[in-house]
Symmetry: C2
Subunit: 195 residues, 2 copies
């Protein structure tokens, strides 16, 4: 009888600990960008980033050069989200952690005279860029893994289909001015310097 | 001996469960804005909102009317953060939950010709507005609690000191155009309509 009680107690303890550890691992798991990458280096867009990632900052681009051919010039608003823990790590080390995921969601915009002035705000997703930090050079044969990151592009007509073919062709041109800050436009992201 | 083992097992189970429940309650506790309010309705600015709250969206205001007297007109970028769970609740119900906290951080801006066009980004906090949803009319005598919200204002020279004196005087004027959407400029916040 007593041995049964002891066994029940130990089993309860193990079940409770397992539940606790699972809850913790779910929190930590969201930081691991390589959950989004298959063995060949193909990148998936993370699900639920608007709810579960952290904003780094936004850029409002007036008279933006359209990325889709045939589009007219107009204002775009770029929101950059990072996987949980990325900003905290960057503030401590000045670097993006291996596995960090950045999502840049490019919106069109609306604007109007609101009470504080001529206001511009996001309206309608045009495309998403995804970058995953790779400090280990995991995919040397894949043209979308270069210079310490994996690079990806998705468009709304097929939002789960990665369509970039190579870093040099699809990504490098726009990011070259930021190459000295690990290819990221960190000047627009206040949370990378202070909480 | 066996009874001791049973007791140890049960104690272990209770400790593990307590740890698990504490971890869960820390997650949920961050949603309760009334932790930031004293018995008279005085509002504190939340700590760590850039890391722990969720972005709703940003407004870029060109040629903004300066809120600080003596300032020159210039572009401002407004970031609005919400306490965890606020956006999910709003998507399901079309309402802000009781206790929801909104922080609008008003930045100055820098700008320059980046690769995509004439880009504007946040630089230097000018002030913070805080709103806390109050569905119960908790502070009928306090002039900063009105129309379903508590209202607060903080400035960088004394960032923890709430300095608004009344909703009608300090808040209502700028928010009137949004009165039909519970006083919030929801059109600029994509996550309120889809994940």
């Amino acid at each position: 009888m007593e041995m049964k009680l002891a066994s029940i107690g130990v089993v309860l303890a193990l079940i409770a600990l397992a539940g606790y550890r699972e809850a913790r691992s779910q929190v930590h798991k969201t930081c691991d960008g390589f959950d989004l990458v298959d063995k060949s280096g193909n990148i998936r867009k993370p699900v639920g980033y608007r709810d579960h990632y952290q904003i780094l900052g936004t850029f409002t681009v007036l008279d933006a050069i359209p990325m889709a051919s045939g589009s007219e010039r107009g204002a775009e608003i770029h929101y950059t989200y990072a996987s949980p823990g990325t900003a905290e790590y960057y503030r401590k080390t000045g670097q993006f952690p291996d596995g960090a995921v950045l999502v840049k969601e490019v919106f069109g915009s609306d604007h109007g005279p609101l009470t504080t002035g001529d206001a511009h705000w996001a309206s309608g997703t045009k495309q998403w860029f995804v970058m995953i930090k790779d400090a280990k050079g995991r995919f040397p044969q894949n043209p979308l893994w270069s210079d310490g990151w994996g690079w990806a592009l998705f468009k709304p007509d097929s939002p789960d289909k990665q369509i970039a073919t190579g870093f040099a062709k699809d990504c490098q041109g726009c990011h070259i001015p930021a190459s000295s800050t690990d290819w990221v436009y960190v000047q627009g992201y206040p949370v990378l310097s202070s909480k």
